[in-house]
Point group: C2
Chain length 162, copies 2
């Protein structure tokens, strides 16, 4: 393995680890438990789960992999705050949805060469990318990974103290 | 820049971004505010701040950069849970301490070549590293970065809702 391949592997391992922790945590909760807030007046667990699904789904167009699989996630879990959209997905639905999103992403992620990882994402123009080459897929992967960890840290507070 | 240099840059950018968010959040709090718990019966903000400082300080020996700068952090904020150690650092002290730790780490981080980033960390043996080459400094940087985001997500819940 070359150095750049090892670095792709490191980022993918970290991504997979966080994604699996998110899956494991939320999938174990009942619909009722998913209604709990992470802090008084803050997001419910169901919203955080949907939010992470929505942000991952948005990686398809951002990475040039095609359209989102579940475009309705955006309105439910990104562009509107919790409790403002009448009908959102249930836990049972999110389990299916996140499975499909994460499996499809992973299949693509495993395929890319280091140079493909370092290519521009689709929201940066060719001219901007010349000046700002850090606006690549690899950087997005790292920041979305930290984003998963950020919300997982919140979600986990709802569990009983060890 | 080579691909591997771009990947080091991406990881360092992500690290710096999270580190600065942590600094900014905690430094703005009074000693009184730092006594607040992130959730009922859970860690106080002062403990989370000290915990992040302690984990970063532990990178010096783990990365072969020498001893910890503030070895007493470990007992206060890692090996013992919150409220079980009588005397812990104040917010004013942690501000100084985290500044020194983060500045020193950053000075080292900026210096390493991609191959140095992919070298084994000090808690893996030479034989194990042959079988498990992912146990390198670069992987640790990514996982500590996610760890910072994890606790920052918790800390931020204490702020008034937007």
């Amino acid at each position: 393995m070359t150095n750049e391949e090892r670095m792709v592997e490191a980022a993918l391992r970290s991504w997979k680890l966080n994604e699996e922790r998110v899956d494991k945590f939320f999938q174990a909760l009942s619909e009722e438990q998913l209604q709990r807030e992470v802090a008084p007046g803050r997001n419910r667990l169901i919203y955080l789960w949907g939010h992470l699904a929505a942000v991952n789904d948005a990686l398809f167009p951002l990475f040039g992999l095609g359209p989102k699989l579940f475009p309705e996630l955006e309105e439910m879990f990104i562009s509107n705050p919790d409790r403002s959209v009448e009908k959102i997905f249930s836990g049972a639905e999110l389990k299916q949805i996140t499975g499909k999103i994460n499996d499809s992403l992973w299949a693509e992620f495993k395929r890319w060469t280091p140079s493909e990882w370092l290519a521009a994402h689709t929201s940066v123009s060719d001219e901007d990318f010349i000046r700002e080459p850090h606006r690549n897929r690899y950087s997005v992967l790292l920041s979305r990974n930290a984003h998963m960890a950020f919300h997982l840290g919140q979600a986990i507070l709802v569990k009983p103290k060890r």
